[in-house]
């Protein structure tokens, strides 16, 4: 073993790696808040691993996306658990990354010499939100479809270039197959590579610069501003003395980091087991009763759009996030005072409380106003069946036929028509197709009009039949259909005179 280690060390210089990575000195008195960054990294690793598993069962096409997720949830061993971990992991990433930003902000750790690392961190924050935005379209359920509809429309309100951005995001004019493929590519290729790359830079800088020491150590007798020529010297002296009084990265810091990471990951697994990840009905572009709602971390912003007047809309929808992002990016360049503790920085404290309080308020308001969307009863309809449902409404079949709770308003001239609540148990789709096309063939005294071409095309009749076949009453899923199809004698060919 020792010989092997020496053999490798001779070639790759393991000792140097150990010395620089694991044995480096870290200031003492680091709080538990200092573990937030590494906890984010742990969850990111979990997201990669679970994401790979999900990608193996996922089909990024509107035809199959929803069904592939349902298959994963129902038929794949541990499938719903893996998806649950990934789902809650996304929320955890957001919470941890925000908490990490707040920690760095309150401790003034973005100041000299860590300005660049703060900028990288802000980029990472944006990428994490990008993951959330591209991720929840993928299941192609109602929430996915509508939240993305709203999201891409917001991007479309950008002044000047909005139209182009919207089309590029969607891969065309409308949300559809191209959008899903695009978001999939962004979610599993572009963003992970981007995040991974920037994380490496972020960590390299942390290793090079070390972790910022306690705020009071860098405040005593400090020059008032960090761009003061004497500040670099002051900083170097203070920092090296605090490092020498500190601990080693391994195992002191690593142990703490990994304990927090383990707790977070265990919580994810518990949440995934207990709460699952939810899958709404398949995306239905014509469902007017559906109230779109984004993931919780976009809710404050969503709520903000409700309270601004229309004329301010595009300014707020694009302006607020863009302004926040730019202010965060530039923060270390306009805040050059050397005070670090939040209590000594009234403006920063005020801004932090304002933003957190405002977001919290909007989030709370938005959660309170939530009306749960009616859950789809029974089996979710396929796209053909949904087309059929629209045709059913469009042809006003319901003005003669009752379906479930939708009763017929009786007028004097309304013909008696069968109740269709359980028609799917009584007749096969192919029988219904023939019947709808030409009812008189079946019942010579039927009052039902013929819907065969040109009124409806055969495709439309088929969709209508598919929809009717899905009507199986309240306990339809547990009942077997017993078809009573009787076909009339085929019409005899006319004899030649």
């Amino acid at each position: 073993m020792a010989t092997l280690a020496r053999w490798i060390d001779e070639r790759v210089d393991l000792v140097a790696i150990r010395r620089n990575l694991f044995d480096r000195e870290v200031p003492g008195d680091l709080t538990w808040w200092h573990t937030l960054g590494s906890a984010t990294l742990t969850v990111f690793a979990v997201q990669i691993v679970t994401g790979v598993a999900l990608a193996m069962y996922y089909a990024p096409s509107p035809d199959h996306a929803y069904d592939s997720i349902r298959y994963l949830e129902r038929s794949v061993v541990s499938g719903s658990l893996v998806r649950g971990i990934h789902h809650w992991g996304a929320s955890a990433m957001i919470i941890l990354v925000m908490a990490h930003v707040i920690r760095v902000f309150t401790m003034g750790a973005y100041k000299y010499p860590r300005e660049i690392n703060w900028v990288l961190g802000v980029v990472l924050l944006a990428v994490v939100f990008g993951f959330g935005f591209t991720g929840y379209l993928l299941p192609w359920d109602q929430k996915a479809y509508w939240a993305t509809q709203v999201g891409t429309n917001i991007a479309g309100t950008t002044p000047m270039v909005g139209g182009i951005i919207e089309k590029i995001l969607r891969g065309g004019n409308q949300l559809g197959a191209a959008t899903l493929a695009r978001f999939f590519a962004l979610h599993v290729l572009v963003l992970p590579l981007l995040l991974g790359g920037v994380v490496l830079l972020h960590l390299a800088l942390v290793i090079r610069q070390g972790i910022a020491p306690r705020t009071d150590i860098l405040e005593k007798e400090a020059p008032p501003r960090t761009d003061d020529p004497s500040y670099a010297d002051y900083y170097r002296k203070r920092y090296s003395s605090s490092k020498h009084a500190g601990v080693r990265f391994w195992p002191d810091i690593v142990a703490k980091d990994l304990v927090v990471g383990a707790i977070v990951v265990c919580m994810l697994v518990v949440l995934a087991k207990v709460a699952g990840s939810g899958l709404e009905a398949p995306a239905d572009p014509t469902d007017t009763s559906y109230t779109p709602r984004p993931e919780w971390y976009f809710l404050p912003f969503f709520q903000l759009l409700k309270v601004v007047p229309g004329s301010m809309e595009s300014a707020v929808a694009v302006g607020v996030p863009a302004a926040l992002f730019i202010v965060l990016l530039l923060l270390p360049f306009f805040d050059r005072r050397s005070t670090r503790a939040l209590l000594h920085r009234p403006v920063a404290a005020f801004a932090l409380v304002g933003i957190l309080g405002g977001s919290g308020f909007l989030l709370g308001q938005s959660m309170r106003e939530m009306t749960p969307n009616a859950p789809e009863v029974g089996r979710p309809l396929s796209s053909a069946e949904r087309s059929g449902r629209a045709l059913f409404k469009r042809q006003q079949c319901g003005s003669c036929h009752a379906v479930g709770d939708q009763k017929v308003e009786k007028k004097d001239d309304t013909p008696d028509a069968p109740d269709l609540t359980e028609v799917g148990l009584k007749h096969s789709p192919s029988w219904m197709h023939s019947f709808i096309e030409e009812p008189l063939r079946f019942h010579p005294d039927s009052k039902m009009p013929a819907f065969g071409p040109p009124t409806l095309s055969h495709q439309e009749i088929e969709e209508l039949s598919q929809y009717l076949s899905s009507l199986r009453g309240p306990h339809g899923l547990s009942r077997q259909p017993e078809y009573r199809d009787t076909f009339p004698e085929p019409a005899k060919p006319k004899e030649n005179p």
Binding site: P62, T291, S311, E313, S387
Partner: protein
């Protein structure tokens, strides 16, 4: 040690840069590296960017007339009705049955107004308010007048998108179109 100049290279560079025309061996190599890198990035990057960004040039759908009501006689007067319709539509590599909807409104049973079923704010489907006098969008509480489509409240930046209608042989046809959402001007997509 680190900050001491390396005399040989420095001298060579100084000698080279003394002559404004000659770029010298080092300059030539630098330029070759830059050109090689630019060619590599360009021959791959240009087609990739074009492929990714080409949907920006997507053209709006033109002349999509849809029959939304078979018989004008059965349409209620003064009450907007929502008509959903199904169309075969090309969605990238999929041929889809797309469902869309319009709201039809008539005051005299002869002239029809049709509004695109998407709220002009961010594209949610709006519905008739309980009092039947306005449309209400559930997403951000946009409110529209049923008679004109004008904004009565909430964030929508422009009135509902009115569509061209035509009555042919007692049936109502609508020229269905979608428009860019969330902006004040009406731009077809």
């Amino acid at each position: 040690m680190r900050n001491e100049p390396e005399p040989l290279v420095e001298d060579a560079i100084a000698a080279e840069s003394a002559d404004p025309i000659a770029i010298g061996r080092r300059g030539f190599l630098q330029m070759s590296a830059a050109v090689a890198a630019a060619i590599t990035a360009g021959v791959v990057g240009v087609p990739v960017v074009r492929a990714i960004a080409s949907p920006a040039l997507a053209k709006p759908v033109v002349d999509n007339w849809v029959k939304v009501a078979d018989d004008i006689a059965v349409l209620d007067i003064g009450v907007p009705i929502r008509v959903d319709f199904v169309q075969t539509q090309d969605d990238a590599w999929i041929t889809n049955r797309a469902l869309n909807g319009v709201w039809l409104y008539t005051e005299d049973g002869e002239k029809f107004k049709a509004y695109n079923g998407h709220c002009t704010h961010l594209g949610c489907g709006y519905m008739l308010a309980k009092d039947g006098k306005s449309f209400i969008c559930p997403c951000h509480r946009g409110q529209f007048d049923i008679k004109t489509g004008a904004v009565l409240g909430g964030p929508p930046p422009r009135p509902l998108d009115e569509l061209e209608t035509e009555v042919r042989d007692g049936s109502v046809f609508v020229k269905y179109q979608d428009f860019r959402l969330g902006v004040a001007e009406r731009v077809a997509v």
